[in-house]
């Protein structure tokens, strides 16, 4: 209980500290999702704390992901006119995104010779953790491993997403938001909210649609991949 409480407080404190630093410097390498876990892992190993006793407190924060997912209804509702107006564009580009997420992970993973159940754990990594884990179970992956890949995808996405937007001719706010929300789920969406309100709304849409489409398309896609 005490270890849990200390872990909780330490996580929140380190998060706010890294957020403050990030606001001053805004180097992607200093993103709270990258730097805070590194500091925490270092602290755990210095203090010889097991992950289990850390997570007894850490899971309180993970639990909040549930109402946080519900909270995405608010930007969706506020910007429902975009959803209505651009329904076809959104549906088509998201179907492409979900399909390519499975195919590209599978193809590249096969090239690098990782074991089959690791490949399966990797396929749903573009969507938000609870959905990714559920899909992972359905297709025969290791759900906890999937959770790790989801996080790695989030970190990757918030680093390369803004660079792609900057360097490539992707100018529409809708495209920028869909790119971030499809590529890097909630992490990408928080980055999109940082860029602007409409980008954030598009990314929220993308995150939710990616989750639903992945659930729906995973069984179909698996018949092609195996």
């Amino acid at each position: 209980m005490t270890a849990g409480f200390i872990s909780f407080i330490a996580t929140v404190a380190i998060y706010y500290l890294s957020k403050k630093i990030y606001q001053k410097k805004t180097w992607v390498i200093l993103s709270p999702l990258l730097i805070a876990p590194v500091i925490l892992v270092a602290l755990l190993s210095i203090t010889h704390t097991t992950y289990k006793s850390y997570s007894s407190g850490g899971q309180w924060l993970t639990e909040i992901l549930q109402p946080a997912t519900v909270a995405f209804a608010v930007p969706l509702y506020k910007y429902r006119h975009i959803l209505k107006k651009q329904m076809a564009v959104i549906a088509l580009s998201m179907t492409a995104g979900v399909t390519i997420a499975f195919i590209s992970s599978d193809f590249i993973a096969r090239l690098t010779h990782v074991s089959p159940n690791v490949i399966l754990s990797m396929l749903p990594r573009s969507v938000t953790t609870p959905i990714a884990m559920a899909v992972s179970i359905n297709i025969g992956g290791i759900p906890a491993m999937t959770a790790a890949f989801v996080i790695m995808t989030g970190i990757t996405g918030i680093i390369i997403g803004p660079l792609l937007i900057k360097w490539l001719p992707i100018n529409d706010k809708l495209s920028k938001g869909l790119l971030l929300g499809m590529g890097a789920h909630g992490a990408g969406t928080s980055k999109a909210l940082e860029i602007g309100k409409e980008e954030g709304a598009a990314a929220s849409l993308a995150m939710v649609i990616a989750a639903v489409f992945t659930l729906a398309l995973a069984p179909v896609l698996m018949t092609f991949l195996t």
Binding site: Y15, V41, S126, A148, I151, A187
Partner: protein, 123 residues
């Protein structure tokens, strides 16, 4: 202080939606997680004005602004796969970086292409 109280109450309201979603998911053996069902429930309630936007707006804004905080414990959890990460970490990074890059390019460019085509056809 009043704002903190408002956030707490609104986050509790949002949690009720995810609990309701979990319940529905369990009862009907749905493959969709409770929080996504909760999201749709809240959207429907907002749409039919059963719930006013102002009842959840501040709480939702807070949760979305601090979203990364709730991912941090899971990110720390990667250490459970320390040996996998040491042996295959580089491969995992290569796969994830390349695939995320492809996913982002395909999604971003198809949206951009479709939007431009739509604009052109209007003119």
């Amino acid at each position: 202080m009043k704002k903190v109280l408002l956030i707490v109450v609104q986050v509790i309201l949002l949690s009720l939606f995810s609990l309701a979603g979990n319940f529905i998911s369990k009862v009907f053996y749905l493959p969709i997680s409770g929080s996504i069902i909760g999201l749709f429930l809240l959207f429907i309630c907002l749409h039919f004005k059963i719930i006013k936007l102002s009842w959840v707006e501040i709480g939702a804004g807070f949760l979305l602004a601090e979203l990364l905080l709730f991912f941090i414990p899971s990110a720390v959890g990667v250490i459970q796969y320390k040996s996998d990460m040491i042996h295959n970490g580089l491969k995992f990074i290569i796969i994830i970086v390349l695939s995320t890059l492809i996913v982002m390019l395909v999604t971003g460019f198809s949206a951009e292409f479709l939007l431009r085509r739509k604009e052109r056809s209007k003119q």
